[in-house]
């Protein structure tokens, strides 16, 4: 009787099929220990990897895991190993991981334009790139990325202070499929850059312009006109953005789910009422803290019409009183997160909120002079079972409104 060697009979496809049925990561690693052939199959099946490695190790990793789709090299904010990811590491990556679709380089503070230019020329299938806080990058390198990675869907440039309108023009020309763009703290970009951007990139669903203080109504109006599938728009402390932008969003962006307009002080009740009417089924998260002109009339419209609203922040909206929370109709509100640090709100208003919001998970009243633990107990307020109440600012806050 001849002996049958399983390894000779089974073909690669069958072995891959077996490997795919292994659920435990340890088992997958053990699979790779059987023989060199099984090691090759296991290594080339591997889709995602998080690493911290120098150039020599990176070359070995690239040789072994040649079909990697996602690579995470992000570093930590404060302490990092020296020198961290360098431009020559990026050259190795651009050369070795040709199937890469997602690359995370968050906080890799050492990389420069030369490094990401090689990413641009090497990784043409790249769809998602996170360069947050890589502060040395400028328009030069980022334009090279845009020209090389034309299938980019998601690009994060938070804290890249040297980014100007030039990068937005390059994205507009080359990356027509762009859906997500993060520009938090990119203070040099202006309305004209944003207008150019949305001219070419009309599929944008997520746009973060937090702290981009030069952006105003002209820029945002063109965003709403061009990007009708917009779901998330962040405009924290964009103080030049006013009613014109909100009215434009109400008119063109019916799918808007998350809107952050904290610090946009010129926004008034009128435009918010239009927004409430227009996005009543889509709006989930609304942050309008420090909007000093907002009063009870628009707030009650938001609460009574936006039935799917889950998170709301109206901190320091000084005109808001308990009246905003009365007469909200019979239906339950789906609010989970409420930050209501308004000086005129008392336990009466909070009581009205609690009657309507059985799903409340977090309520922030730390700066409410009339709402304290003592005054709530005195009024006999019943908070929902799982609800965390922040009276003094010590609780870990949910980040849905950032």
């Amino acid at each position: 009787m001849g002996s049958l060697c399983i390894n000779e009979v089974l073909r690669d496809d069958e072995l891959r099929s077996i490997l795919s049925r292994l659920e435990d990561d340890k088992d997958k690693e053990r699979f790779g220990l059987v023989c060199k052939r099984w090691l090759h199959l296991q290594s080339t099946e591997r889709k995602k990897l998080s690493v911290r490695a120098g150039p020599h190790m990176l070359r070995k990793i690239a040789a072994r895991f040649s079909r990697l789709v996602e690579l995470d090299l992000s570093q930590s904010v404060s302490r990092s190993f020296y020198p961290g990811v360098t431009d020559s590491d990026l050259a190795v990556i651009a050369d070795g991981f040709k199937s890469l679709k997602l690359l995370n380089l968050q906080n890799c503070k050492g990389i420069t334009d030369a490094g990401i230019a090689s990413i641009g020329s090497g990784l043409c299938s790249l769809q998602s790139l996170d360069l947050s806080y890589c502060r040395k990058l400028t328009d030069k390198g980022l334009s090279a990325v845009a020209e090389g990675c034309q299938d980019l869907r998601s690009l994060h440039l938070a804290g890249c202070k040297s980014v100007t309108d030039g990068t937005l023009q390059a994205l507009s020309k080359n990356c027509r499929n762009l859906e997500e763009l993060g520009l938090l703290g990119c203070t040099s970009i202006s309305d004209s850059g944003v207008i150019d951007l949305v001219n070419g990139c009309q599929n944008i669903k997520f746009l973060d312009l937090n702290k981009c203080s030069n952006i105003g109504d002209n820029g945002i109006s063109s965003v709403s006109k061009s990007c009708s599938s917009l779901k998330t728009l962040k405009l924290l402390d964009c103080y030049k953005v006013g009613d014109k932008s909100i009215l434009s969003l109400a008119k063109f962006c019916k799918n808007l789910e998350t809107l952050i307009i904290g610090g946009c002080r010129d926004i008034s009740d009128e435009s918010i009422k239009h927004l409430a009417a227009s996005c009543k089924s889509s709006l989930k998260n609304l942050r309008m803290d420090w909007c000093l002109n907002i009063s009870d009339s628009s707030l009650s419209c938001i609460l009574s019409q936006c039935r799917n609203l889950e998170a709301l922040d109206i901190g320091c909206c000084e005109e808001v009183t308990d009246a905003a929370f009365q007469d909200l109709g019979e239906v339950e509100l789906s609010l989970k997160v409420l930050k209501v640090n308004c000086p005129k709100v008392t336990v009466v208003g909070i009581g009205n909120v609690l009657e309507k919001c059985a799903s409340l998970e977090y309520i922030d009243v730390r700066s409410c002079p009339h709402v304290t633990q003592a005054s709530c107990e005195e009024a006999g307020l019943q908070f929902p079972q799982c609800c965390k109440v922040n009276f003094a600012g010590c609780l870990f806050e949910p980040d849905v409104l950032l």
Binding site: S213, D237, Y239, G263, R265, D289, W290, G315, C316, N341, R366, S367, A392, G393, C394, L395
Partner: protein
């Protein structure tokens, strides 16, 4: 007299924990809760407390109290966010109260001077 070796430091008044570098001073003319205060671009070995919206003399701000990481004494606060455009430059920076911090190297040089002065006086006495 005394050679300055190493960076000029500020320390916690209570426990001598190093909390800031002289190189990071931006301004010495700020007003704290109890008198003069300094504005620093960075602080170290400190714990940042919960954020609060407060109306200060210069307008609405989000601030967070700052504590010594060793002894937990309040040293000042951190500006997280500023409403007025003219105040935005303070975002991310620290106020440490003059009464809560010691200028460490100045102390060492004064200490050395007193010692040497004493020694010279005692010599004079002998002669």
């Amino acid at each position: 007299m005394a050679e300055m070796v190493g960076p000029r430091l500020y320390s916690c008044c209570n426990c001598r924990n190093h909390v800031a570098l002289h190189d990071d001073v931006i301004s010495k003319s700020f007003q704290g809760r109890n008198g003069r205060a300094f504005l620093f671009s960075h602080a170290m070995n400190i714990v940042v407390g919960p954020k609060e919206d407060r109306q200060l003399m210069t307008g609405l701000h989000t601030v967070a109290d700052v504590f010594c990481s060793d002894c937990r004494v309040v040293l000042g606060w951190k500006y997280e966010r500023a409403y007025e455009e003219t105040q935005k430059y303070k975002e991310g920076k620290f106020i440490l109260e003059k009464s809560k911090i010691h200028h460490l190297t100045k102390e060492i040089s004064v200490f050395a001077f007193c010692h040497i002065n004493q020694w010279i006086c005692s010599l004079h006495f002998l002669i």
